[in-house]
């Protein structure tokens, strides 16, 4: 009977071994379906190359085609755009969360620009900044900043009011309310927003590198498409996926290390 009892949904961590297994299943299933599509259903390689050809392709890309430099260039652009967005959005968003007046001043314009699709800025950015690294970084910055600033504002605005009152009663001056209450209280959630934001930075990177680029992993994909190098497209997608996932795991570990007191934190 006990086995049939209805329980609320589980919460909390999954056992380590099970976690790994559960995480691997979709990858394995994708590989199986992919293999079957090519070898059982006979999908032509021009649409879907054989899965077993991908590792040699990857090897060839790094050994002979110098893709490593494209990857490095792309990583540099993502990091620069992301960091620029973090540096500007963090103080602006925190002040918006602290002061309703500053929020009222900035939120409408941010809300307006946020809904303009980022690719729309590409022609203007090329016109103003050329088609070099600066333009790519600015595109990533624009894509990340207007989302991030609102997430930081939300984190800063949801700091419990009674923490401020407690600090005031303990004699804290005004600047301490910002630097010793708002900042440490909101930082774990702000850091979570960074983690989400760096994912978007990768998206906007590829958007930026598809138009008017001469280097980078996005450019590599466009080039491969032009010459119908389909295995290379898949390989490049895998590279971006691996880079993104590693970044995410790294940020998750950093979260646990930086905020040991934050029980919730980010879930990976």
């Amino acid at each position: 009977m006990a086995g049939n009892a209805i329980k609320p949904p589980r919460r909390g961590p999954v056992y380590r071994d099970l976690r790994l297994l559960l995480g691997v299943i979709p990858f394995a299933a994708t590989a199986v379906v992919w293999f079957a599509l090519v070898h059982v259903f006979g999908v032509r390689p021009v649409f879907l190359p054989a899965i077993e050809g991908i590792p040699p392709t990857l090897w060839d890309m790094f050994a002979n085609q110098g893709v490593a430099s494209d990857v490095l260039i792309s990583c540099g652009r993502v990091l620069s755009g992301f960091l620029a967005a973090v540096i500007v959005a963090t103080p602006v968003g925190a002040l918006m969360g602290y002061s309703p007046r500053i929020h009222q001043l900035i939120a409408p314009i941010v809300g307006f620009i946020r809904y303009i699709p980022v690719p729309v800025f590409i022609p203007l950015c090329i016109l103003w900044f050329g088609s070099g690294d600066l333009e790519k970084v600015i595109i990533i910055f624009l894509g990340a900043f207007f989302q991030l600033v609102l997430m930081v504002q939300d984190a800063a605005g949801s700091v419990r009011r009674d923490y401020y009152e407690a600090a005031i009663m303990l004699g804290a001056p005004r600047h301490a309310l910002v630097f010793r209450v708002l900042w440490p209280a909101a930082l774990p959630q702000i850091f979570d927003s960074y983690r989400v934001c760096i994912g978007w930075a990768w998206t906007y990177l590829v958007v930026a590198e598809i138009v008017g680029a001469r280097s980078g992993i996005g450019f590599y994909i466009i080039k491969s498409q032009r010459y119908l190098m389909v295995p290379q497209i898949f390989a490049a997608m895998i590279i971006i996926g691996v880079l993104g996932m590693s970044t995410d795991l790294l940020m998750g570990a950093a979260h646990r290390w930086l905020f040991p007191w934050s029980a919730g934190g980010a879930r990976s």
Partner: protein, 279 residues
């Protein structure tokens, strides 16, 4: 030892004087009168309890004394000075756990110390450890707040509040969220601390037992809008312990207070939790 209502230090011996405090809150769809001509005088060194049914505006009284809120009308004097904003005279223990989760126990206790005392980090740390010992948290100095039980969290809050050596300790239902056994232990601890320090305490509660156990003087409040219904002197001498609960006089006074409050509690039940008057 504290004598009920007795002053210990110089003049003026009036620690808190409230005269005709009225507080209206304006909301989207009307206004709420939380306090109506609330008056009381609290002597230096006295343990004053503001007792009343829930939602009678008693929290507003301590928040006004603290300077966290301003009354709509009436005067507030703390040590003879009008209160305009939160000052160094008062410390506050809140019902919601307000110790900072991003700091350890010892860092929480040190938070206000850094602003209150001149001295190097070492001196601050020493003083914080002494306070941690006083509230029985020596073994948890480096624990984070979320690793502690509710009673321990409030012990941190009490130690943090005492750290700045305030003349008046304000407590807004500090044990309201605790289970009844933890609450009794905390009341005993608070008795020890306040009897030793001789500080003026203003404690808000809806718990009649708590009021009688801790207070030198009890201000019984009406249902909303809150005003003082009766002032009672608590005759039990200090040092006190939880044993006063067994006294016949304790039971009698408990009944008297309930009798005083009964109509107000029923009135509150009829009205429900809202009480907003439409404009």
């Amino acid at each position: 030892m504290t004598v009920p209502g007795g002053p210990h230090t110089g003049l003026p011996n009036q620690a808190v004087r409230l005269r005709h405090l009225t507080k209206d809150y304006d909301g989207h769809n009307g206004s709420l009168t939380a306090l109506d001509k609330f008056s009381c005088d609290i002597a230096e060194g006295e343990f004053a309890v503001i007792l009343g049914p829930s939602g009678c505006g008693k929290s507003t009284v301590v928040r006004i004394i603290a300077g966290l809120e301003q009354p709509t009308s009436g005067t507030v004097l703390v040590n003879g000075e009008p209160v305009v904003h939160p000052g160094k005279t008062c410390s506050m223990v809140f019902q919601s756990y307000t110790s900072f989760p991003w700091l350890t126990v010892i860092e929480n206790i040190s938070f206000g110390l850094g602003y209150a005392m001149a001295g190097d980090k070492r001196a601050i740390r020493e003083r914080a450890r002494e306070l941690a010992r006083k509230v029985g948290l020596t073994d948890f100095e480096n624990a984070y707040i979320n690793q502690l039980s509710g009673g321990m969290k409030q012990r941190v809050a009490i130690a943090s509040a005492l750290a700045t050596d305030p003349r008046i300790l304000l407590m807004d239902e500090p044990f309201g969220a605790l289970d009844s056994q933890t609450r009794m232990a905390m009341q005993e601890l608070l008795l020890q601390i306040t009897e030793a320090s001789g500080k003026t305490v203003v404690l808000v509660t809806h718990d009649i037992d708590e009021a009688l156990l801790l207070g030198d003087r009890i201000y019984v409040c009406t249902a909303r809008p809150g005003s003082v219904l009766a002032e009672l002197d608590v005759p039990f001498p200090h040092p006190r312990g939880v044993a006063v609960r067994n006294l016949k006089r304790f039971a009698e006074m408990k009944f008297e207070i309930f009798h005083l409050l009964r109509d107000h509690i029923y009135a509150q039940m009829q009205e429900g939790p809202g009480g907003w008057q439409r404009h």
